[in-house]
Symmetry: D3
Subunit: 137 residues, 6 copies
């Protein structure tokens, strides 16, 4: 069994959203998305956990510089989503339903393009302490 | 020093809000409320902690029936605020800014009227894990 | 490396149990199970974390309807185990020692039969914040 | 306004209990205590928070030696309640209903007799993360 | 009973310290402070909770601007203590033992001088999740 | 898909450390390790999560005796690291930078040699609630 090393770093942001399919009638959206379909929006304290896997630099003892990781989480996730209305003010969700699954995938894509391909990336996104999604390699 | 006994019960709800003073210009609101003034709203996972003080019934060993307390928290707070836009869909905030202080006071008022005056009531409201308010006797 | 998406949902229940092997003498049970062998029972606040993996519906942006997942966790786990004596009142533990490992496996089996086989399922069961088990595909 | 200094120390134990009044019929107990009246018992991971107030020793900078506080919490609370059936195996609850309020008061009394009267004592007892009691001067 | 309103804000820092009385022999320090007397230092993730009480501005619905509170916690506490050796690099602890009680009092004093006297201030300082102090009016 | 069963157990310790490469100039260390390069040390409350995978004993219903696991975590990790200066007082870090990655790997190695090779081992090490590493098979 090969061994793997990973590092994790957390971030957080607060945002509003509404879950619905634009092409569906209100009643069908209500049936599928329940209270989350409220047209006036509701919101969450989102928590993101970023996991990077790879190999350690034998000199520094680091897999990735955690200050760099902290910085790209701030720029790509926190500054981008914080205190926003996801449906109305975030490009990716103009055509995509901001479910916890899709916010997780969008977060992954935004971080992936800033990271050296030598790293494996997984992203976990908490919508509440009881509800979350995970995506990655 | 007299001794006091209290019981606590927690509840939670998710909601959207915007902080601003209706009579102020956008720039002044932005200066005072920062990102929280976003006209498209943002949101939080709110957590409420209700504290009741009084004296114990010597037969049952209870200060208040926790099932009753759980029920009024559900009816007066959770069902009333959950998945709502506080500014647009909650009567009390049509004329009151939904700051964490005011949501805490409104929660206190809603619970107070359901409780026997013999109980002392305090309410703590968490907007995030780092930001909260407390109100009561 | 293929990518995977998962969603998680938590539930909880409070129960009593005793750890012992029916065929063993009291002394041998005490040696192996320590305080957990108390014949008068002790108990825990159990926390369950259910992880479903699969693929996203491109229209709804959902892997599984979280309301459905919440409902089967309520019916199969919370209503079934909550406020019970696991050894005396739960069918599966009449012949099985209710260790954290076995409660985790039994929870998995109960949820597995309610879920479409297209989903991968993993279950994590917390006996305390320091002690837990995980089981699944 | 005078200033006060307090120190806090946490402990924990796991126990089983049943809530009921011995002199009442089963039906009346069920009505008042609900699921908690299960005659086969259920259980919890209890968490205790002990708060001591007083004045600081100017030489050591300590209000009370936290190692001593840790030791009396271990002896009077953890070793005494852990992995026990409160109704059947704890002297104080042979005649007292082990509600969260009463467990809190009994814990206070056990600690109070080990502490110098110069200290103020308050005890908070968590039955679950959502349900707790506080007692003291 | 008069009613009071308070707001809370949390901050955190990581630091090293050693507990000992300079005038005492090593053996006496070891007896009183145990492992905390290690001359090579050990350390903690400290968490600070700042509580401000007063009255609400009826126009803004705010007791104090939380951005201002966040800023003074950053300047007076986080930037001042973070990643420091408290005994060697913090002025106040050159002559004061950095117990959790004294770090709490020093934090209070640093914040008090930045706050309008109309506010009541209390500070809670967590050394670990099980060990903390509280100081204030 | 084969099924796997794992058990987890947590432990914790408080320690001081400094991150730097002995052969580098101060300026280069400061650039790479930032505040963590403070020559007077800083510290953390470390939390360790040990995960063991294998198969269940059908008689006891246990994968591994959790009391044994608790004991080796105490002996190999808690007693060995607690209240220590990692750079100055822990053998393994005399030549190895005590990054969260390296503390995680050293913890794995110390536990691995005490465990039957039939078990799979993974170790997660939390430096703060936002920063952690994971290592294992």
């Amino acid at each position: 069994m090969g061994k793997t090393i990973s590092v994790y770093r957390k971030g957080h942001f607060n945002a509003a959203h509404r879950l619905y399919v634009r092409d569906w009638e209100f009643e069908r959206n209500k049936e599928v998305f329940g209270l989350c379909n409220n047209p006036y929006y509701h919101g969450h304290n989102y928590e993101i956990e970023v996991c990077i896997s790879g190999s350690i630099d034998p000199v520094t003892g680091m897999l990735i510089n955690l200050d760099y990781l902290k910085r790209i989480i701030k720029e790509e996730i926190e500054d981008y989503f914080d205190h926003k209305n996801l449906n109305e003010q975030v490009e990716e969700f103009k055509t995509l339903n901001p479910t916890v699954e899709n916010i997780c995938i969008v977060s992954y894509e935004r971080l992936r393009k800033k990271l050296d391909p030598k790293y494996r990336l997984r992203v976990r996104l908490y919508e509440t302490a009881r509800n979350y999604a995970e995506y990655g390699e």
